[in-house]
Assembly symmetry: C2
Homo-oligomer: 158 residues x 2
DNA sequence: ATCAATGCAAATAATTTGCAAAAAG
DNA sequence: CTTTTTGCAAATTATTTGCATTGAT
């Protein structure tokens, strides 16, 4: 959870704040450091808990107010898996076109990239008169464990 | 909105109800007829309004209770476009693997299918140790109008 | 008759927001 | 100093649920 902070991403976010004349507060730093020290997808609630471990003064409101800044900067992507809360993915800075496979039972998520799919996408998009901006491909299926045992031991591996 | 009811889909849903020993009520009929007389994506709230036009006694609660039956039957698919409400797509009975392109400005949605992409998906999924159950590919981009004029005249074409 | 299905209104839960106090620039 | 940002608690809003009643089988 609390590995090394990715300074590239952190730096980029600071630049983003400066460009918009937004202030660098202790709470924003705690939140941003938290985000860029994991590769995991997280929820707002998880981000709150982890950020509080760094700085007790971080509030839920500030987390919810910082999340839009992170997505607007392009360094984090909001993802909807159809649950009643959203997930955030901090890996788009490094892999802008990656996709997700989610296990139906344990909800384990694996990321992958495919040049061939990307190419087909832009081809089809063009043919339909659009120009492509973003794409998201989500596959759900059964992981090895689910296939073998009929159920996964640990659920909710998000 | 109120074109001809697709009797194939309607019929399949009735079979689905029978198999589960669920009852055919006037309200369910109004809702189901509404769903299968459009190709448009809709929200729960829209479905309520349209169903009420057929049968004033349909309540919001019944709409929300019927929607899971429709998705469970496989005839309708729940879709999350990251808004704070969900959309439902009644076209999965005819096109089980179709995908969506959404215009960034007017939110016009175009559906498309691609065998090549499907094939790549199942190949990749297999390679990662999963077996594929569902896939959803969402592309966002600029439609012709947005590209040409810089903005779309009518917004929110959902 | 029996038991599922309904409408209503209250409950839930993620996210948003108003406001007075605190802190950044 | 000025203006943004904060935490708190209350508000918002889509969806869900308990319950007494209605209606399908």
């Amino acid at each position: 959870m609390s590995g090394a902070v990715k300074n590239g991403a952190r730096e980029k976010f600071m630049t983003f704040l400066a460009r918009k004349h937004l202030r660098v507060t202790a709470q924003r730093q705690a939140i941003v450091d938290t985000v860029f020290s994991t590769n995991q997808h997280f929820t707002a609630e998880q981000l709150l808990a982890w950020s509080r471990a760094r700085d007790r003064s971080v509030s839920r409101a500030t987390v919810y107010r910082t999340l839009p800044l992170l997505t607007e900067s392009g360094l984090v992507r909001e993802m909807d898996f159809g649950k009643d809360y959203k997930f955030y993915d901090p890996n788009y800075a490094e892999h802008p076109n990656h996709n997700h496979i989610i296990c139906n039972d344990c909800e384990k998520i694996v990321e992958f990239e495919s040049d061939k799919i990307e190419q087909l996408e832009s081809e089809i998009t063009r043919r339909l008169g659009f120009s492509l901006q973003t794409q998201r491909l989500q596959i759900t299926g059964s992981c090895e464990e689910l296939k073998k045992l009929g159920a996964c031991k640990k659920k909710r591996g998000i």
